[in-house]
């Protein structure tokens, strides 16, 4: 029977991003629910310092690999390391931070070992017949409740921000979790991807992170030829123009205006989002803004859940009216 909770941590050259601590928090909460302590896994080469940092958390163990074959991430090597370990220990759940790297290999790992696959959860609660998980569907317009059926390990990834990292529990009295080597044998792994290098996405000429005010537009603007009211408002406010991904993908604005998980992360004092629905990949790039204004014709758009002020309406009417009001106020 599958038993216990594992958490696989992502790091970049030994540095742990916040979402790895969020994954620890999620795994601890889940393990407590099932009656036990979570165990962490750290893959890589020379990740001793990161392991020591993880060992400060209330975990049953930290399993650490040190294999040159894991220095550069490839799905083949990561799956080659994790698959036998998960199959041998058969934990009920393996928790991952929901990152682009995780998504790149988690589904294939699940398929390979016959585990269940539950991506991008935002929470769970225990119901009459077991755990009920929450995850967004329809680009965040709806929240779904999901149950897992059947037996065997389930791979779960947790959405950024869903389990606050500061809720991860440290070991009291300066104790340390057991750091154990995780033996891996990558000799049988078929290389699936030869990494040639990494490159910056070109054209980063606009630094939106320095802007005090941003007027951001989404697909709701309707075309490159409809940008004038946005430009007028940005000018009146002394703002930079930003955008959601589809605006960029459609070629209505250049790529260096994209805000979100694949674009820039901004936190201006005022963020005006017009015609943007508020998918999580957009929200992670702007929800730290001091004041958020949302303008959308759909009152159910998820952008309103992070907004301070909202106007339900057609942006082609609201933006010119707003420009006018700003001009009047500024005299």
């Amino acid at each position: 029977m599958a038993n216990g909770v594992w958490v696989v941590l992502q790091h970049r050259e030994g540095q742990l991003p916040r979402i790895s601590f969020e994954a620890i928090a999620a795994a601890q909460k889940l393990a407590a629910q099932l009656g036990g302590k979570a165990e962490a896994v750290l893959l890589g080469a020379g990740v001793g310092l990161a392991a020591a940092e993880v060992a400060k958390f209330d975990l049953a163990a930290v399993h650490v690999t040190d294999d040159p074959g894991l220095r550069v991430y490839t799905p083949g090597a990561y799956i080659g390391a994790l698959a036998p370990a998960i199959q041998a220990a058969s934990p009920a759940f393996v928790v991952f931070p929901h990152t682009y790297q995780t998504v790149d290999y988690m589904a294939r790992l699940a398929q390979g070992i016959g585990a269940g696959l539950l991506p991008e959860v935002t929470g769970f609660e225990s119901g009459a017949d077991g755990l009920v998980w929450a995850r967004p569907v329809m680009g965040g317009k709806l929240q779904s409740k999901v149950r897992v059926r059947g037996e065997g390990t389930v791979l779960v990834s947790v959405q950024s921000g869903a389990f606050p990292s500061d809720s991860a529990v440290l070991l009291v009295e300066a104790g340390e979790a057991d750091v154990k080597p995780l033996a891996v044998d990558l000799s049988g792994v078929k290389p699936d991807r030869e990494v040639l290098g990494y490159e910056e996405v070109g054209g980063d000429t606009v630094d939106l992170t320095k802007a005090e005010i941003i007027v951001a537009v989404g697909r709701g603007i309707g075309g490159a030829d409809k940008m004038a009211p946005v430009e007028a408002l940005a000018k009146a406010l002394g703002a930079e123009i930003g955008a959601s991904r589809p605006v960029i993908d459609n070629g209505w604005l250049p790529r260096d205006r994209q805000i979100g998980s694949s674009g820039q992360t901004v936190a201006p004092k005022l963020y005006v989002a017009a015609g943007i629905s508020g998918a999580i990949q957009h929200l992670v790039g702007m929800k730290g803004s001091a004041v958020i204004v949302a303008i959308n014709k759909d009152p159910g758009a998820p952008i309103f859940t992070v907004a301070d002020y909202g106007i339900v309406g057609d942006l082609h009417e609201v933006l010119p009216a707003l420009t006018e009001a700003v001009r009047a106020a500024k005299g």
């Binding site: 682009y100 589904a107 991506p119 329809m138 897992v148 490159e199 005010i213 106007i311």
Partner: protein, 264 residues
Amino acid sequence: MKIAVCIKQVPNTEARLRVSRDGRWVDEEDLPFVINESDEYALEEGLRIAEKTGGEVVVLSLGPERVKEALRKALAVGAARAVHLADPAFSGGDALATGRALAAALARDSFDLVLTGSQSDDVGYGGTGSVIAGHLGWPHVWLVMGVELEEGNASAKVTREMESGVNEVSRVRLPAVLEVQAGINHPRYASLKGIMAAKKKEIAAASPADLGLDAGQIGAAGSRLEIVAVSFPESGKGAQMLEGDAKAAAAKLVEKLQKEARVL
């Protein structure tokens, strides 16, 4: 090259949604459906590669009768033929069940390359393409933003998007499954000629029996995940909604931004 593209039909992202009567999914009546956004880009990429290498694109879709409309659209922009996994037993699957069915359909043919989108705009598992690759035993790359064929089409230089403005560039042997991210290209529109030609192209149905699968391995029955309820998030939680016509709402907003939020 012979290229397969998996396309899913999903509700238009701008559609107003209603929860279905049983509370488990959206009400599909009168709901406008489109080809999933990243799949449109995958299809375009497939067409470009087929044109460059001299080959054809076959589109596959799993879903009910309405899915034919998406397949017709793909045929109209240049796909040569289509395969439809239409049996109700296929429906309601998680990424593992849907990927298993699509992989079985793909394995009946001999493709040099399989393209999928990176994520579906409805359930958004982001994993179906990788599952397909696992079944076929081929390499895969998720979130593909560039494909350059090399070595006489034996391998490809693939650009994968990573977080915050960095891409990974790698070499992948073909055949492979590439899970295309939106924005990789600019999808074409169907021409009138293409729309007419599409009417004569074949949409072949594939049943579970054709694929050697039994009902317990696919669709809802073959899935570990079961969606038990969907609901709207608490709208405007914490947000002050400013009422009135555009002019009135704008005036109120500016006043709030000045006097309350003090950001103007």
